[in-house]
Each structure stands twice: as structure tokens, then as C-alpha cells.
Symmetry: C2
Subunit: 182 residues, 2 copies
């Protein structure tokens, strides 16, 4: 439910656009009457996937991130290409790791950085996995797949050792939901 | 520790700059030899504060977010004005809520959106609070302070009801760390 909060948009323009983000700049009148310019990232949304094997291990990625000059341990993730989150989760999981999931559920959706962006990510739990998919990575996706127990990843997230925030949050949600099937 | 991962930057330019974010565009050669252009947000970092009263209630904010057209329940937060995270946490907490904290500890630091931004946020736990500070809000900060029990906020975060991702993660970390003082 949108809620303008008394803010009034007078004009809006796109300063930059790429397939991954747009930079938008709006002229806005605040509830108190002050006129300001608000520049922020307009983003199509993405999905963070926690793919859990029956033995409780999670399919994680060691991925190089140019933005921060680091190689990080993250959950599989990717942008919504005009799809719903569950469809995107299935596609990204297979493209990045080669795993396919028979069961995918969205277990929460969160804004990423409300001061400067409208980006939103769904957290999806992926289960009933099979390793018979087809990897199709983009040139920028330098990824190594690693399997780690969910209980261990939860502890690492709580200690701040999963440095990608959306992955840490996704793992904590998954650890709260997931139970062994027998 | 920076790790170029075999990516080679050939050029870098700033396409847009405001006090809150910069849009940077780099020409990069990937490890495989392909030349690409990578556009991303260059951000100075921020802090998310979980201020906990002795009775276990958390000082939260109901704040309007123009970016998403919503009024959300969030932890106090704000940008690092060239300060360390603990100093920024004390300042933002007082400016936004009027509470001052005698004890502030960083309990983790996370990247916010590694695909498109280098933004990083520290999670700080603020304790030994007193309500005798001076509120100094910016014109864009429409904030109402609300006190909610930490145990309840933890459950809401796990159910996806704290829609600001960094706040949800901060609350889950705080709930794992905080113990009543007696």
C-alpha cells in the first residue's frame, strides 16, 4: 500500500539507466512546504535463495564482487526479469549453481536500503533439490559452489561472518523455518 | 582485504554525485578478457542502531520513506559523516530519537547490495540509554518514536514483518546478543 506521507512529487526524471539500475531524481515538496530534490536508485527487485539439501547443507556461492573488491560467501541471488520471485529463484539457482528445485517458497520480502533505493528482495527457500540442471553464468559471475550446513551458516551470520547482509538475513530466516523432512 | 579477482579497471568516472550517493562507472576487463562497463553506487556507509532499554524494549522509528512510498518501522540509522560507526550511532540515535546511549558496541558489519553498490552498514547495539538528548531531525525525517519489546520484534523480523532488511537483520543479531542486566 503506497502512502505519500504528505510528500508531493512535482517532477521526475531518469538521470541514468542500465539493465541493472536506474538513477531517478524527483522534485518534491515536503509536508512542511520545503522544496527538495531527491535522487535515488530505481531497481526492479531481486531474489535471494536458500537452497537446502535433505541433509541440511545449503548450496552457497563464493562469488567475486567488483563493487567491494572482495570474494564473498553468498546465497544464490539475481534480478527479477519481469518474473515473480519464485520463478526467478528457480531460474537463478539453476543458472548459477546447476541445482534445480522441486519446491520453492517465498518466506519474506524486504527493502534493501530505503534511504537511497526502492530495491526489494524476496527470500526464497528452495528444497527437493537435484544437481541435474544447466549452469549458464554471465561473464561477470565468477562463482564457485560450496555446500555448508545451515546450522553453521546461521552461527556465522549471527557473528557477522556472512558479510552480504541479504544473505545473512535469508539464512537466519531459513534456519528458523527449515526442519529435516524426517 | 581487497581482492581484484582478476578484474582489471581501465578507467573510472563519476556520473552523478550528491551528499548521499555517487554513481560510478568503470571500464573493466574481466578475467576472461572481455571488456565491460560496470556502473554502481559508491556510498560512504551507514549505521543501523538497536537501542535497548533495561526492560528489553527497543527504541524504534516509524519513518516515511519516499523511495518506496511507505511508512515503515525501522531501527534508527544514518550515514557515517566521516566518523566511525560507534560515533555515528550515538549521534544518529540522539538526533533522531532524543535518546543518548552510554554504551554502544558494533556487533557486525554487512554489505547492503553487492551487485550494484559498495554500501556497507554497521549494526550497533546501544545500551544504558537516557531520554535527555536533543532531537535534531532533517526536513526529510518524518519520524515517530515507538518502543517495542525486543522478543516481539525478533518474531516479527522472522515473519518478514520488519520490511526494512537491514533493520530486520540488526534486530535478529541484537536478540541473539542481548541479555537482561539482571
Amino acid at each position: 500500500m503506497r502512502d505519500a506521507g504528505g510528500w508531493r512529487r512535482r517532477a521526475s526524471r531518469t538521470l541514468f539507466e542500465s539493465p541493472w539500475l536506474r538513477l531517478r531524481q524527483d522534485d518534491v515538496t515536503l509536508p512542511g512546504g520545503e522544496d527538495i530534490t531527491y535522487s535515488f536508485i530505481d531497481h526492479g527487485g531481486y531474489v535471494v535463495v536458500v537452497p537446502i539439501l535433505e541433509d541440511g547443507r545449503v548450496v552457497m556461492e563464493r562469488i567475486h564482487r567488483y563493487t567491494v573488491g572482495r570474494t564473498l560467501l553468498e546465497c544464490p541471488s539475481g534480478g527479477l526479469d519481469g518474473e515473480d520471485a519464485v520463478t526467478a529463484a528457480r531460474r537463478e539457482l539453476e543458472e548459477e549453481t546447476g541445482y534445480r528445485a522441486a519446491t520453492v517458497d517465498s518466506i519474506g520480502a524486504f527493502y534493501g536500503s530505503t534511504g537511497i533505493s526502492n530495491e526489494r528482495f524476496d527470500v526464497c527457500l528452495a528444497r527437493d533439490l537435484s544437481a541435474d540442471g544447466t549452469i549458464q553464468r554471465e561473464a561477470t559471475e565468477q562463482i564457485e559452489v560450496e555446500l555448508h550446513p545451515l546450522a553453521e551458516l546461521k552461527e556465522r551470520a549471527l557473528r557477522g561472518e556472512i558479510e552480504d547482509g541479504p544473505s545473512a538475513l535469508a539464512l537466519l530466516l531459513a534456519a528458523d523455518r527449515w526442519r529435516p523432512t524426517r
